[in-house]
């Protein structure tokens, strides 16, 4: 269980903040729609499923390597993804990373309208629990509701915030590094996704 908590902290700190950039890039390749969210979720899930996560030194390069390999796989099966887009994807792995810095500041700006747009009950419950730090039992008593109803309202509010964050997109600000330097930044250890990076030599 110690490991579980450390891994969750790692995932939230080093991987999740890059998902807006990933989503923005994937949308350009694949277009909007149900597929896009599934694809982002699939990349994140694979990123988490790595048992050698402690060896990942660059979260974004790691995430983009997984996305690239997923695209390569789907291209082999379906022959739809243009190879150019995959090459372009690799360039992103090494471009300078602003996402973590922009994230915290931008997040609040994006979440405020979500809070303001919540239905009254979930909004009240969320504000009481999250911002005023009251216990669920205390909130239930104040609002004359059962604890499980309070929990449901809290769930509605939290889901709205999760949705807003999951659909967040962010453009990459590239500082013009070459795609060739990408390999050195991705040190994914022996995990399957990054082990396949070597295949890119074939494009030359």
């Amino acid at each position: 269980m110690e490991d579980l908590h450390a891994k969750l902290e790692w995932f939230e700190r080093d991987i999740l903040p890059h998902s807006p950039v990933l989503r923005s890039r994937l949308r350009k390749l694949k277009g909007a729609g149900e597929d896009l969210d599934d694809l982002v979720s699939e990349v994140l899930t694979r990123a988490y499923a790595n048992s050698r996560w402690q060896q990942v030194s660059n979260g974004r390069a790691y995430l983009f390597t997984i996305a690239r390999n997923l695209l390569v796989d789907s291209a082999r099966r379906q022959k739809v993804v243009a190879f150019d887009s995959i090459v372009e994807f690799e360039a992103l792995q090494s471009s300078y990373d602003f996402s973590a810095h922009l994230c915290a500041r931008d997040q609040l700006r994006k979440l405020q309208p979500v809070l303001d747009g919540l239905p009254p009950q979930p909004r009240r419950v969320f504000v009481a629990r999250r911002l005023h730090e009251k216990s669920l039992a205390q909130i239930a008593e104040e609002m004359g509701l059962s604890v499980s109803t309070v929990e449901k309202h809290l769930g509605v509010a939290l889901a709205a915030f999760m949705r807003a964050l999951a659909q967040q997109e962010q453009e990459v600000i590239s500082v013009g590094k070459q795609p060739d330097s990408a390999a050195s930044t991705a040190r994914g250890g022996g995990n399957p996704p990054s082990a396949r990076v070597g295949e890119r030599g074939q494009r030359g």
């Binding site: 969210d37 599934d38 609040l108 999760m162």
Partner: protein
């Protein structure tokens, strides 16, 4: 400090998360949203607004929580705060210096007008210097890192005593014992060993070696002492002002550049000003509120 979830909730949630990577990602996303919402503005309430009516179809794998049971477990984990074993907000008023013992055997001393947030998890001893300056003496435990965050800067203690001061644009680090790892944003960890003073800027870390006297000057505040050793009057005034409700203001740039020495208690700024008036070409104008304006007395001395 509050525990909204029971031990049973906690282990049930842990089991659920451990079941599959999908669950873990859902949990991480839920907790990210929970944490991100911390700074939201609760006012004004917008009555009748309904987001659910404005945002169309959103039931996607991994984003939302599959079943009602799973939702309950995640809420117990996220909203129940059980992932914090110990949480505490430490603060000092202007002029106050306070020593606090932490539950792991570490000690922290807060300088005047300082805020430190303590959030210990099982894996990590995490502290945030939100304002001011603090000295940390860390109980050694390599299995559970001791991290101090100052804005985007992360300092990791490696068996250590060190001083951190938040100066807005930069963070000042003084290492008394051991080694402190410095991490700015996503950059690699840089190690600063004992006897060094570092200025940490988002783009660069400048490290300078200090002798014992230099180091003791940086941490003298813990004994309620301000040590001046050839510092400019502007620097000296900045130090005294940290402990004053009404600041000393320098009204003449010639005065600002004067070099001063001496050893004062943090609450002895009045004696400091008297000393200046006696031995330097400085004139102090005191206003009714307790503020002090320092001017050059050149014109009077040499008309």
């Amino acid at each position: 400090m509050e525990n909204g979830g029971s031990e049973a909730d906690r282990s049930a949630a842990e089991r659920w998360i451990a079941q599959s990577p999908e669950h873990a990602v859902a949990f991480a996303r839920a907790r990210q949203a929970w944490r991100a919402a911390a700074g939201l503005d609760a006012e004004p309430e917008v009555p009748g607004a309904d987001l659910a009516n404005r945002q169309p179809g959103v039931s996607r794998r991994g984003v939302l929580l599959g079943s009602a049971g799973a939702l309950g477990l995640v809420l117990a984990g996220v909203a129940g705060d059980w992932f914090f074993l110990h949480r505490q907000l430490l603060t000092t008023r202007i002029g106050e210096i306070r020593a606090v013992d932490l539950p792991d055997g570490s000690h922290v001393v807060l300088n005047s007008d300082t805020v430190v947030e303590v959030a210990y998890t099982r894996e990590r001893r995490r502290l945030k210097l939100k304002r001011g300056e603090a000295f940390f003496e860390v109980a050694h435990n390599p299995a559970r890192p001791f991290d101090v965050e100052v804005g985007e800067t992360m300092l990791r203690a490696l068996g250590t005593a060190f001083n951190v001061r938040d100066r807005g644009a930069v963070v000042e680090l003084t290492v008394s014992h051991g080694v402190v790892g410095v991490r700015e944003g996503q950059a690699a960890l840089r190690k600063v060993p004992a006897g060094n003073f570092a200025i940490i800027h988002p783009d660069a870390v400048a490290v300078a070696s200090y002798d014992a006297a230099g180091l003791s000057q940086k941490t003298a505040w813990r004994e309620h002492v301000i040590e001046l050793n050839g510092d400019s009057l502007a620097q000296a005034v900045e130090e005294f002002n940290r402990y004053r409700a009404h600041p000393i203001v320098i009204g003449d740039q010639r005065v600002a550049a004067l070099r001063v020495g001496g050893r004062f208690q943090t609450n002895e700024s009045a004696q400091f000003i008297e000393g200046l008036e006696q031995s330097m070409p400085v004139r102090a104008v005191r206003d009714a509120d307790g503020g002090v304006l320092l001017l050059s007395s050149d014109e009077i001395a040499q008309p």
